[in-house]
């Protein structure tokens, strides 16, 4: 009995690592850049399809394709911000919401048109089913790798944002765009770089999502919902909070799913709402 629950908690925490990766990019855009990206989930799905296509064309393991896609994802984020999103950044929070909602529709329908409605997964070859025995528990290598990447990404981004020079510039610009421009710190450039970093997290999220779960062109919004819950649970602007939020949501879903298969998603939402009511500022708030 104890062993079962320990197993559930461990498996849930590992699933939570994936949720945290979903959320880290959104945490940057919502918590730091202060705009809500409705298309975040769709961007992840789009990147999953890109990885799928490249991996089959290049005949390479998807984990080896990922490093090739990361610079591309940075550039895509940079260009998207510079050419489109930058025009709607400002006092009106509704504008980025509408623009990214439009992008979400474009991505979903573009994918339907381009790759069809079939459900897909990514494969990492033998790694897909490899597992290790730790303390009597059988743990998948892939979930373990996902979790390790989530931890590294959360702490790495936290360092970047709160300890590095670029992070200081991002926080300065997002705090007061006019003041930054006035003294010669280019807000346009800094915003674009920040969105490029979001792009990198999207590519990583896409890889590990595709390896773990099925996706099709309309999967984006459900990923967005998870990412949102994780960001709010963790506290706006807190990347380590997002890691913790992801783990809590993953454990809640796994335990809920054990009680009754239909309860998996619901249990996650209930835990989210409960914590949100008790601690609306999030678990590790930065602001």
């Amino acid at each position: 009995m104890v062993g079962t629950y320990l197993n559930l908690i461990v498996q849930g925490a590992l699933l939570g690592g994936l949720y945290a990766i979903f959320a880290l990019g959104l945490s940057l855009s919502v918590g730091v850049m202060r705009f809500v990206n409705i298309a975040h989930g769709d961007f992840i799905v789009l990147m999953s399809f890109l990885l799928l296509v490249l991996s089959s064309v290049l005949k390479l393991n998807v984990l080896l394709v990922l490093p090739l896609v990361i610079p591309l994802a940075f550039a895509a984020g940079y260009v998207l911000q510079r050419l489109l999103l930058q025009r709607v950044i400002g006092d009106n929070a509704l504008l980025p919401l509408l623009v990214t909602f439009g992008l979400s529709i474009i991505v979903q329908n573009g994918l339907l048109q381009g790759v069809g409605a079939d459900t897909r997964t990514l494969s990492a070859g033998a790694l897909d089913v490899a597992s290790v025995q730790i303390g009597g528990l059988s743990i998948g290598v892939l979930p373990l790798l996902t979790f390790a990447v989530a931890v590294a990404l959360a702490f790495g981004l936290d360092w970047l944002l709160y300890r590095s020079r670029l992070g200081a510039h991002i926080r300065a610009v997002t705090l007061d765009v006019a003041a930054a421009d006035l003294i010669g710190l280019s807000s346009v450039r800094v915003y674009a770089i920040a969105m490029g970093i979001v792009g990198i997290t999207v590519a990583i999220a896409a890889c590990f999502m595709g390896l773990r779960m099925n996706f099709d062109p309309t999967s984006g919004p459900s990923r967005l919902l998870i990412a949102f819950e994780v960001v709010v649970l963790g506290g706006l602007g807190s990347l380590r909070g997002s890691l913790l939020g992801g783990i809590i949501l993953g454990i809640a879903q796994t335990i809920g799913g054990q009680i009754d298969g239909a309860w998996q998603t619901l249990a996650g939402h209930i835990v989210f709402l409960t914590i949100f009511l008790l601690r609306p500022q999030g678990l590790l708030p930065r602001y």
Binding site: R165, A168, H169, R171, A172, L175, D176, A178, A179, A180, D181, L182, I183, G184, L185, S186, Y287
Partner: protein
Amino acid sequence: MASTAAPPLLTIEGLSVHYAQFRALHGIDIAVGVGEIVSIIGANGAGKSSLLKAIVAQAGPRVEGRIAFDGIDIRGRATPAIVAGGIALVPEGRRLFASLTVEENLMIGWHIGRRGGLDLAGIFDLFPALRDKRHQPAGQLSGGQQQMVALGRALMADPRLLLCDEISLGLAPTIVNDLYELLLSINRQGIGILLVEQDIRRSLAVAHRFYCLLEGRVSLGGRPDDFDRDTITRHYFGS
């Protein structure tokens, strides 16, 4: 003041700034020599801040005239290029990034500037009060200390021309005295200073030359000693 062959540090000719429904500056001419302190005085709305913003390309798209720095026309350049070229602004109201630490605020000056001048240690020698507060959020400092950070941030950009917009606003007189002492010592190192102030007495006391703006035009200009108080006041208020 102007030396024979070398061009002045900053030459502004026929500068006009338009906003949506009105014109803030009407073709003004202003010069700042190397190592000179030039004071811009004028009432509220005379166009003082528009002048400083136009120099750093932050006065919007409708700016006409010539702005030459070191003999080279810089109008049309973007703000980061102008700052990296050696012009730093201490903005009105300081405009620090409140949740960033003192050190982070100062370092932004280093990143945007020429990187040849004072480093962090130099700034803390200049403003010892900031040393112990370097890891505190800038928003927690007193007004005077925040003004030190704003000035320090501009100095870290290693400017040849320092633009100061109302740096004494809202500060205690003793702190303002200290700031002006400091401006003089900065100036003695050869940095030109363009000083915008509403406090006529104080800014004229340190200035080599001054310009008085009235409704977007230069109403009076010259050396402070050349005019008596009444003449300056008359051109200040336009009566």
